[in-house]
């Protein structure tokens, strides 16, 4: 196989119903591991489940068994506090056994509170301080351009993260170098720790800002997987400039009790709350905990 063929072979390309099932499983994982750990970020983890599913199970070419495979695509979640989401998606994708999710944020586990490459192979760079990931993606995209490699580079950011000045340095450089192999996704859930983003420090209009910085902008329902896949396809076909998907999402999506409630940025559900939330997603805490413990082999 040549590079192009090998690169395509690393893509899963699951059909829509399977992707929707995976996104739901990831939400169940998130709630279970958070309640089990008793610490971690709930709101943004749930809001990002759909677009990260689209990236890891449809768009990106990766080999979880060879995380540093040289022909891989680049994917990175810059708002590193959503580790429940990142690790759940990685576990479902096969980077490590699902049982490991139950060691989240513990001294004996390999899943740190914020992403650490040394501890969790498959991550590209450590993260946790906001505003850094887009620059890393620019570097990965430049490397692909240098090598004339078909690699695509995906980077996810929070909308509150757009308050960091370094994001705009990176946005400027991506357009300057015409990085059409770079696709950013912003989780526009409109909330951050201290309140609605519009009240803390307004970032809108993000579409006009990115357009002014020389990007192609797609505003998309961040919970509609079909719409997300379409937007990723359109972004792939953009030539001569980077693309950004402004994923319109709901913080806490999937657990109606907390949706759009900013106080759920950084706290976990109790086991009782998680059980209630999981029942809304067609599962229950004990059953899903047992599934994780059994590495996903038993329902």
């Amino acid at each position: 196989m040549n590079v192009q063929e090998r690169w395509v072979a690393g893509r899963l390309n699951f059909p829509l119903p399977v992707l929707e099932e995976i996104a739901c499983d990831i939400r169940r994982d998130i709630l279970t591991l958070l309640a089990h750990a008793g610490t971690g970020h709930t709101g943004g983890s749930l809001s990002g489940a759909d677009f990260l599913t689209a990236i890891l199970f449809h768009e990106a070419t990766v080999d979880p068994f060879t995380p540093t495979w040289k022909d891989r695509d680049f994917w990175h979640v810059s708002h590193g506090h959503v580790t429940p989401l990142i690790y759940s998606a990685m576990g479902e994708r096969g980077y490590f056994p699902l049982r490991d999710l139950l060691s989240f944020r513990t001294i004996h586990g390999h899943l740190q509170g914020h992403p650490s490459v040394k501890d969790t192979p498959g991550l590209e760079v450590s993260a946790g301080s906001l505003g850094q990931g887009l620059s890393v993606a620019v570097g990965a995209a430049l490397a692909a351009k240098m090598d004339r490699h078909p690699r695509r580079c995906f980077v996810c950011m929070g909308d509150g993260e757009q308050q960091e000045g370094s994001v705009w340095e990176a946005a400027m450089s991506a357009a300057h170098y015409k990085l059409d192999n770079l696709t950013a996704v912003i989780d526009v859930n409109r909330m951050q720790i201290d309140g609605p983003t519009s009240e803390v420090l307004g970032v809108e209009p993000l579409d006009e800002k990115y357009r002014a910085f020389g990007w192609e902008v797609f505003v998309v329902d961040g919970h509609d997987l079909a719409a997300l896949l379409d937007a990723f396809t359109e972004a792939k076909n953009v030539k001569g400039k980077p693309s950004v998907l402004l994923a319109q999402t709901v913080m806490g999506k999937g657990w109606p009790e907390i949706e759009d409630n900013f106080t759920w940025h950084g706290k976990p559900p109790t086991i009782e709350q998680a059980d209630r939330a999981l029942q809304g997603l067609g599962a229950n805490y004990g059953g899903w905990w047992a599934r994780l413990e059994a590495n996903g082999l038993k329902p």
Partner: protein
């Protein structure tokens, strides 16, 4: 008086030439710059390999992490700007993305130290060693002259992990030759002596050698160590010098707190406590002036070393 005559060249030219040497042999070497191509001498590289050279503008935080991204896909990025900005502005990126990952990124800290001259305090980075020493996973190199900087660049390529190389703007005396061995983590013995040791770094090595000559005229034998690697520090050489010469003075173009002097004192206190003194910037910001005037004003001179050595010898007697 000193019997030495030196050839003078800039360390930044050593950086630029070192990159060209590497570029010829290794296709994976790429260079990023923050709007100071000529003053950091990377035009030498850019002219030869424009496709491996990235102008990143006045956006240091971005430049650091773009280098990180390049390093994830087989490139060995060397980024350079003035250390006041490449280190000072981008500390968070260095700490989280470059250091914690860690990424195989090489950092050139140009225009370091008081000898930057007329630009004044904002551009005279005197805190970089303290900052970088505190970050795990980094190797820190402070070559003494043109030739050694050139070799430090070569050596950095072969270290698997982040490396910070500090260099300056002005011409400094050439104290090493093309045939001298440069080994990362091993102090270079520049002059033998038994009464006291001066552990110097960067351009202060030449001042230490002048101090050695002046003291020799008075029958005092000053050992001179060129501590070109600040991290990992050559602890055996320091402990050995403390035991064999019984007194140590450090010399650096950096703040008194957190630099070479602090690092050496930690080793001396642990392994072989002896009287110590420091030649450094004494908790001040820099100032405008000609480089030579500034070195005089802030006491970064052989005469300061000589005075401190004599006082150390008195303390040794007591």
């Amino acid at each position: 008086m000193s019997r030495r005559t030196f050839e003078w060249r800039t360390t930044r030219e050593g950086w630029g030439r070192g990159l060209v040497d590497l570029g010829e042999r290794h296709e994976d070497v790429v260079v990023l710059v923050g709007d100071n191509t000529t003053s950091t001498q990377v035009h030498l590289f850019a002219d030869r390999w424009p496709e491996r050279f990235f102008q990143m503008g006045i956006a240091e935080q971005n430049m650091v992490n773009v280098a990180a991204g390049l390093s994830r896909f087989g490139k060995v990025p060397f980024y350079v700007t003035y250390s006041a900005f490449g280190i000072g502005r981008a500390l968070d990126q260095l700490r989280v993305t470059i250091g914690y990952t860690p990424c195989n990124v090489k950092i050139g800290g140009g225009h370091s130290g008081i000898s930057v001259g007329p630009d004044g305090a904002t551009h005279q980075m005197l805190e970089d060693l303290a900052i970088m020493r505190a970050l795990p996973n980094f190797t820190i190199l402070v070559p003494a002259d043109f030739e050694q900087t050139r070799k430090a660049v070569q050596a950095a390529y072969f270290i698997d992990g982040p490396v910070y190389i500090r260099f300056g703007r002005e011409q400094v005396p050439c104290v090493t030759g093309p045939d001298d061995i440069f080994e990362v983590g091993k102090a270079q013995l520049m002059a033998e002596g038994s009464d006291c040791t001066c552990i110097a770094t960067g351009q202060m090595v030449s001042e230490a050698l002048i101090a050695h000559d002046q003291l020799a005229d008075e029958g005092i034998w000053l050992r001179v160590l060129n501590m070109h690697t600040i991290k990992p520090l050559d602890e055996p050489a320091i402990a050995c010098a403390a035991r064999e010469t019984g007194a140590i003075v450090t010399a650096e173009e950096h703040q008194i707190y957190g630099g070479l002097g602090s690092a050496v004192a930690q080793v001396v206190a642990e392994h072989a406590p002896v009287p110590m003194d420091y030649v450094a910037i004494m908790d001040h910001y820099g100032a405008s002036g000609q480089p030579e005037e500034l070195l005089d004003k802030f006491g970064l001179r052989a005469s300061t070393i000589v005075g401190k050595v004599k006082r150390l010898l008195e303390r040794k007697k007591n």
